[in-house]
């Protein structure tokens, strides 16, 4: 055999390997092929090809592995079990940027499925290799590395801690400043994953100056970037008041309110979630947010969106109202209660309804004014319905009962209390009647108009119809109420009055 022929043999072998690996890479993009590929034993072949001489074969093999691992977590487990990861990690440091991208893709695909797989990635030194990739010049490599770190860090706090200990955070903050949009998005989402676990991790991110960069990126027109930025800020501020104050000091409000008009619904949701996390810590922070005019905008937002997107807005209103009665009054004046009533009518999910019930309770429980505002929107009957409804979950029932009780204690608006006398379980009934008796004793002696209204609207009549055991607190309340009205009126409205009159007729003898 001449030299040319021998070389030709090697060339053919090389070409066939190349073709094989490229075809497998293309096949791996289709989910239905993957099972067949796995049965054909593609994993061990790819492992062998990873160590090939030719760099392009290595890269394609790595890419294929990534696609396979991305597809399902058993394949990812197979990747881990075949000990492919250590060789990948070692070559990460040496190879060119395409290989690095493909290897980082594999690590991400493996790590994203479960904490155990991520632990396997961390155990073979993947984190350090990825962090050194973050230092690379090529933005694609940085993006792949950041994405892989994000998928490792998302599972739990200890994995996240190992990512942070490898010194990823300063490099990630530097990546935020790069001009490529995709890199910025991925970095923002990775920072958001890191911050979400514990306050210390969030503090680490803040100490590296991430907040100011994130705050500047709010003005960027790209919607997906804004989603991640707001999610990151939200995860930072949810841990403690100090962190929330740091986020506020970055001057994102009132500019963030402009993002509430963004056409992308997840941007809006994340903005509202950010505001909710800030507001729930303290009165001063809520006052600040309210002073920016956020309440009106949030209520408009609640009007426009549907379903679980409304949940952060509802909880925001609840937290704001919970802090002080000024803020609760502010919520009421901005038509918050009206909007919540609309949401309650439209939503069907149990947890959203529970959140609405809780928010209404927070708004209404401060003073009689607030309770009256809640009662005028007919919300007391709705709360009662939620409580009584057998198909509501326990959480919903508990929350609506609590809300109802706290509002009832402050409600002096008798017309609102009155519909609650009909079809009510006794536990609620005694509270309602107790409240009516309190109101009758304290308020009604001065307000003849209200007394008259109570009688004419049928409330007194309904009270007489309630059967209570004598001596029970219910009966005492009813007696107290009856005592404050003239006896004739009480007798007139008692249930069997017509019978009583007719009986009188029987015993009557004309003189």
């Amino acid at each position: 055999m001449s030299k040319k022929q021998i070389v030709r043999v090697f060339d053919e072998y090389h070409k066939s390997r190349m073709q094989f690996v490229q075809t497998v890479a293309d096949l791996a993009t289709e989910p239905r092929n993957i099972q067949v590929l796995q049965n054909a034993g593609v994993m061990s072949m790819l492992r062998a090809l990873l160590l090939d001489v030719n760099p392009s074969i290595q890269q394609t093999a790595a890419l294929t592995l990534g696609r396979l691992a991305d597809h399902s977590d058993d394949l990812a487990t197979v990747v881990v079990e075949e000990n492919i990861l250590p060789s990948l990690v070692q070559s990460l440091a040496l190879q060119n940027r395409f290989y690095k991208k493909a290897a980082a893709f594999v690590l991400r695909a493996v790590a994203k499925h479960s904490p155990e797989l991520s632990q396997a990635v961390v155990a073979c030194g993947g984190v350090d290799a990825l962090v050194s990739c973050l230092d690379d010049f090529d933005p694609g490599v940085k993006e792949a590395a950041a994405w892989a770190l994000g998928s490792i860090a998302q599972h739990n706090a200890s994995l996240c801690q190992s990512v942070v200990d490898a010194g990823a955070v300063p490099l990630l903050v530097l990546c935020l400043l790069e001009p490529e949009m995709a890199l910025k998005r991925i970095t923002a989402s990775t920072l958001s994953e890191i911050c979400k676990h514990t306050p210390e991790l969030a503090q680490t991110v803040v100490d590296n100056g991430a907040i100011s960069h994130l705050a500047q990126m709010i003005f960027n027109p790209d919607a997906k970037l804004k989603r991640q930025v707001f999610s990151a800020l939200c995860q930072v501020s949810k841990h403690s008041e100090g962190l929330a104050e740091i986020v506020i000091e970055a001057n994102i409000f009132p500019a963030a309110l402009a993002c509430l008009q963004d056409p992308d619904k997840y941007v809006k949701k994340n903005v509202v979630t950010l505001m909710r996390e800030i507001v729930k810590h303290s009165l001063a922070l809520s006052e600040m947010i309210v002073a920016c005019g956020a309440i009106g905008v949030v209520i408009d937002y609640l009007g426009h969106c549907q379903g679980s997107l409304r949940l952060p807005g509802i909880m925001l209103l609840g937290y704001v109202a919970a802090h002080s009665e000024n803020l609760a009054m502010a919520v009421i004046l901005s038509k918050g209660v009206h909007q919540l009533a609309l949401c309650l009518a439209e939503e069907h999910e149990s947890h959203i309804k529970a959140a609405i019930a809780w928010s209404i309770g927070q708004i209404g429980h401060h003073t009689p004014e607030h309770a009256k505002a809640v009662a005028t929107c007919d919300l007391l009957t709705k709360l009662l319905e939620l409580y009584v409804d057998a198909s509501s979950s326990e959480d919903l029932q508990a929350k609506s009962k609590k809300a109802l009780k706290t509002i009832l204690q402050k409600c002096t608006y008798l017309l609102g209390l009155e519909p609650l006398l009909y079809d009510v379980p006794t536990t609620i009934l005694k509270h309602v009647v107790g409240q009516i008796s309190k109101v009758t004793q304290l308020v009604l002696p001065h307000d003849s108009q209200a007394r008259r209204l109570f009688v004419t609207s049928g409330g007194l009549k309904r009270l007489q119809e309630i059967e209570a055991e004598p001596g029970s607190p219910l009966q005492e309340h009813i007696d107290t109420i009856n005592n404050s009205y003239p006896e004739e009126i009480v007798r007139y409205y008692s249930p069997n009055y017509s019978q009583v009159l007719l009986e009188q007729l029987e015993h009557y003898e004309p003189a």
């Binding site: 490229q22 890479a25 293309d26 760099p55 392009s56 890269q59 394609t60 890419l63 395409f98 694609g140 001009p179 027109p221 009132p254 309110l257 402009a258 509430l260 008009q261 056409p263 309210v290 002073a291 920016c292 005019g293 956020a294 309440i295 009106g296 905008v297 408009d300 000024n326 009054m329 502010a330 004046l333 901005s334």
Partner: protein, 330 residues
């Protein structure tokens, strides 16, 4: 003798009487002694009693005077204390009145200021309205921007189409597809076709070909009429906020170094000054040919063409670094 006898009898009787009396006396001695003791003790007792009662009386007098003295002193003290307490009560009541008034004033003015609350709530609703209005305006503006961008994209696509279909232009003999004789006026596509100047296909990657040299200026003014001038500024800033980096040029080795002597000569000697241009007649065509050739050789084909993914990557990078596209509408 009788008298003696009488006297002797008397003596006998006397003796007997003496004996009787002394016997009686002896008998009575005890009794009388006791009686005498009794009387004496009684008298002593009376004396002592009188003394004691005298002492008692004096003691009583002293105690009486002393007790009166101390009681009066205590009474005076009590009166003083009662007076003091009455004064303190009075002061306290007055202080309570002052504090009540003060606290009411303070709370009403600073803590639960009704008017402050009212104005706060009014201000808040006004602020809400303001913010809503501003946000609506902002939304309007953003929507307009987005619409403009959409329209620009559409127009670019149409121009590209026109460029691809340049051959469908109508001629004098034969009306084109878009210029049907039954139509009152030519289709817009026809107008575009007329405006597009055909350029021979060069071996560039796909994304670049859509920028023919004679790009019509009229397409840009078609936007001006519909939108207010500030739009131009905003899109301008929007486009320029993304800095487009120049492509990473592969360093070509500089061939054909000239001799140092030649360069020095060129520097030192002035060129010949004539009024006539030293260019040939065909200079323009030659220059154009040269340009065309340089362009075709300029960007190397398949920079790192290994693997399909990498091919795509290099494609996308090439298309993203072409600055010509976005600048064609200025």
């Amino acid at each position: 003798m009788a008298e003696l006898q009488k006297i002797k009898n008397e003596v006998e009787e006397l003796k007997k009487e003496y004996f009787c009396r002394s016997r009686q006396a002896e008998e009575n001695r005890q009794r009388e002694n006791q009686a005498a003791t009794r009387i004496q003790s009684w008298v002593r007792a009376c004396k002592v009693h009188a003394y004691l009662s005298h002492l008692h009386k004096k003691a009583i007098i002293i105690q009486k005077i002393w007790r009166g003295f101390t009681a009066r002193a205590r009474f005076r003290q009590m009166v003083k204390a009662a007076y003091f307490i009455m004064k303190m009560n009075f002061y306290e009541e007055m202080a309570v009145r002052i504090q009540r008034r003060w606290r009411g004033f303070f709370v009403r003015k600073y803590v639960h200021n009704f008017y402050a609350r009212k104005s706060y709530l009014k201000g808040l609703s006004r602020k809400n309205e303001l913010v809503r209005m501003e946000l609506d305006e902002l939304q309007e503006l953003q929507k307009r921007e987005r619409d403009c961008l959409e329209r620009v994209k559409e127009q670019t696509a149409k121009v590209y189409q026109a460029h691809r279909l340049h051959h469908l232009l109508s001629t004098e003999q034969c009306p084109g597809v878009f210029n049907s004789p039954f139509r009152p006026a030519p289709h817009e596509m026809e107008l575009l076709l007329r405006q597009v100047k055909y350029q021979a296909p060069t071996r560039l990657s796909r994304g670049v070909r859509a920028c023919p040299a004679g790009m019509p200026a009229p397409t840009a003014p078609s936007f001006h009429g519909t939108l207010p001038p500030p739009w131009i500024e905003t899109t301008g800033t929007y486009c320029s906020s993304r800095p487009i980096l120049p492509p990473i040029a592969i360093k070509k080795q500089q061939v054909l170094f000239r001799e140092p002597g030649e360069v020095w000569e060129q520097r030192v000697h002035c060129p010949d000054l004539t009024l006539r241009l030293r260019t040939s007649y065909t200079h323009l065509e030659e220059a154009q040919n040269q340009l065309r050739q340089r362009d075709s050789k300029g960007i190397p084909t398949g920079t790192l063409g290994t693997g399909s993914m990498l091919h795509h990557l290099s494609q996308s990078r090439n298309s993203s670094t072409q600055p010509a596209n976005s600048k064609s509408f200025r």
